[in-house]
């Protein structure tokens, strides 16, 4: 009973907020609705028992990706008139994307009606060992059977990260940074002198 209520709550909210993400006029509102959609999708994952994936969804997408999204969108100075100006020009491309997405949805529903998908190893045995928690099961598979793919994904990400750093890094010579180590090494004795000048005489600096 509670399961069913929770499922319909999360599912309806996911779809509704996904729809509003597209329909919202203001891009910041769009991102916020998108975040709500992510969050409800995580709720659906918890209901299916994939709590590890659900938490990763929240940490990675809601906690990091969407924040950066929001960060960028917030700083955009958006002129709505010029946005609509290109509508006719971009319409064919947009229509193409829409058709592809529609075809994928139809294909997905067709595949769903063909029967449940057998997840697991090629020989048909269940992948998840009985009694293991979510994290243990995922970790056990990632670091044994799919070790090569996992490491390859890691290398791809590493290359992407280094690429991004190289592309955006620029050496700036006109700034004078703070050398914290040098500052910390400095002692009061090096920087100050205690003098007791006679009356009427100045201080030699």
């Amino acid at each position: 009973m509670i399961h069913v209520i929770a499922f319909y709550l999360f599912a309806v909210l996911t779809i509704a907020s996904g729809a509003v993400t597209i329909l919202a006029r203001n891009p910041v509102h769009s991102v916020l609705w998108l975040i709500l959609a992510f969050f409800n999708a995580a709720g659906l994952m918890v209901l299916t028992g994939a709590e590890f994936i659900a938490m990763l969804l929240v940490i990675v997408y809601v906690g990091a990706v969407a924040v950066l999204f929001l960060f960028v969108v917030m700083m955009l100075d958006i002129d709505f008139a010029s946005l609509r100006a290109g509508f006719v020009r971009y319409f064919p491309f947009g229509a193409l994307v829409a058709i592809v997405l529609l075809a994928e949805i139809v294909l997905g529903i067709g595949a769903y009606r063909a029967g449940a998908l057998e997840l697991g190893s090629p020989d048909g045995t269940a992948a998840t060992p009985a009694g293991a928690s979510n994290i243990e099961a995922v970790g056990g598979l990632l670091y044994s059977r799919y070790l090569f793919l996992f490491e390859a994904a890691g290398i791809v990400l590493l290359v992407a990260m280094i690429g991004a750093i190289v592309l955006t890094h620029r050496q700036r010579t006109d700034t004078r940074g703070q050398n914290i180590r040098k500052q910390n090494m400095r002692r009061p004795g090096d920087a100050t002198v205690n003098v007791k000048p006679e009356v009427g005489k100045g201080v030699q600096l």
Partner: protein
């Protein structure tokens, strides 16, 4: 608690539902009262360190000061700036307040006294704490004002930066305890060092991790010396500038609930949670709840102490500390801790 409601003749689902709601109220209501008292304690400690008296007029020793402030704020007019984005402006404090309460679901107050004893407790805390930034960003953007906007941008950059190193620090803890379950982490600390000290903090490999976690939790809750988001000398009051009345109070309460949460995490992850400090049978006569509370209050005192004594960081110094010091060091410690644990056959 579910079994109690089952005995009243409810079906299992309803018993579970009512028990959970009762559990939420049992945590949230005392938390609200303790937030009010902790604000008073914060002001008193702060005043004592500045050789002032602090609040001492309302009630005996000024104990009712927070409630008087609450009443004052409650009776004020809610002002919404005409240029503000009204919906988001009103939702933002609700988000902050809700998120501050949500993470308490997995904090163990005593052996078994936890609302949701889930396997992924620590990941849940990470997930919820990463949501906390939205209240600030939404407030900053929706206020349609310069200072709140600056504050929102600072907040998002700051929290993302420090969450990365917090993640690595927590990985060290998880490696040692072998579980993400908060109660499991507490139990893993029983007699951790020399069979007598309860707590990862006494472990020489994890002690630096705890120091970094304490500093990162200051940054995560935007407390001094990292309170750049509401730096009153630069940004008026940061993201709260345009807020008044109960919306302002919601931020205030949410902020202190977050501070208490970080104190509770420090206590749970590194100082043995509800276990007594030493693994001696006599100390177990004191209920675990009392030990937990004492540890949380101790950390809150440390937080206030730091607030009263340390000057505010500059923004570039904050970023340098997060990315150039904490991130490499915590990454190094993940390698060292996992290497050490492999060497001694911890996982065998």
């Amino acid at each position: 608690m579910t079994s109690f409601f089952l005995s009243l003749g409810m079906t299992y689902e309803w018993a579970w539902f009512v028990a959970t709601v009762c559990g939420i109220l049992l945590i949230a209501l005392p938390l609200m009262v303790s937030v009010a008292m902790i604000i008073y304690a914060d002001r008193k400690i702060w005043a004592a360190m500045a050789l002032r008296r602090g609040p001492n007029v309302v009630g005996p020793f000024g104990l009712l000061q927070s409630f008087a402030d609450g009443l004052k704020v409650f009776l004020q007019e809610t002002i919404i700036p005409s240029a503000a984005n009204k919906g988001i402006f009103l939702i933002a404090p609700v988000v902050t307040f809700t998120v501050a309460l949500m993470a308490w679901a997995v904090i163990p107050f005593n052996s078994g006294a936890v609302l949701a004893d889930v396997n992924i407790g620590l990941l849940y805390v990470l997930a919820i704490s990463s949501l906390g930034v939205y209240g600030t960003i939404m407030a900053g953007w929706a206020s349609n004002s310069k200072y709140p906007f600056f504050s929102a941008m600072r907040a998002s950059a700051q929290m993302i930066s420090y969450e990365v190193s917090i993640g690595f620090i927590l990985i060290c803890v998880v490696l040692w305890s072998g579980t993400f379950n908060m109660n499991g982490i507490v139990l893993a600390q029983k007699g951790h060092v020399l069979g007598i000290v309860n707590g990862f903090v006494a472990n020489p490999l994890l002690f630096p991790m705890w120091v970094m976690f304490l500093i990162s939790s200051l940054a995560e809750t935007q407390r001094a010396p990292f309170d750049l988001t509401e730096a009153e000398s630069e940004l008026v009051a940061g993201y709260q500038t345009e807020y008044s009345s109960m919306a302002f109070a919601a931020y205030w309460l949410g902020e202190y609930a977050n501070v208490l949460l970080m104190c509770a995490l420090n206590a749970t992850l590194f100082w043995g949670g509800w276990l007594p400090p030493l693994d001696i049978p006599v100390l177990y006569l004191v209920p675990g709840f009392v030990w937990f509370l004492l540890k949380v209050l101790f950390f809150f005192f440390v937080f206030s102490w730091i607030k009263a004594t340390v000057p505010r960081y500059r923004y570039d110094q904050l970023m340098r500390l997060g990315w150039k010091v904490f991130l490499p060091v915590s990454l190094l410690f993940v390698v060292i801790v996992s290497g050490y644990l492999m060497a001694i056959g911890h996982f065998a």
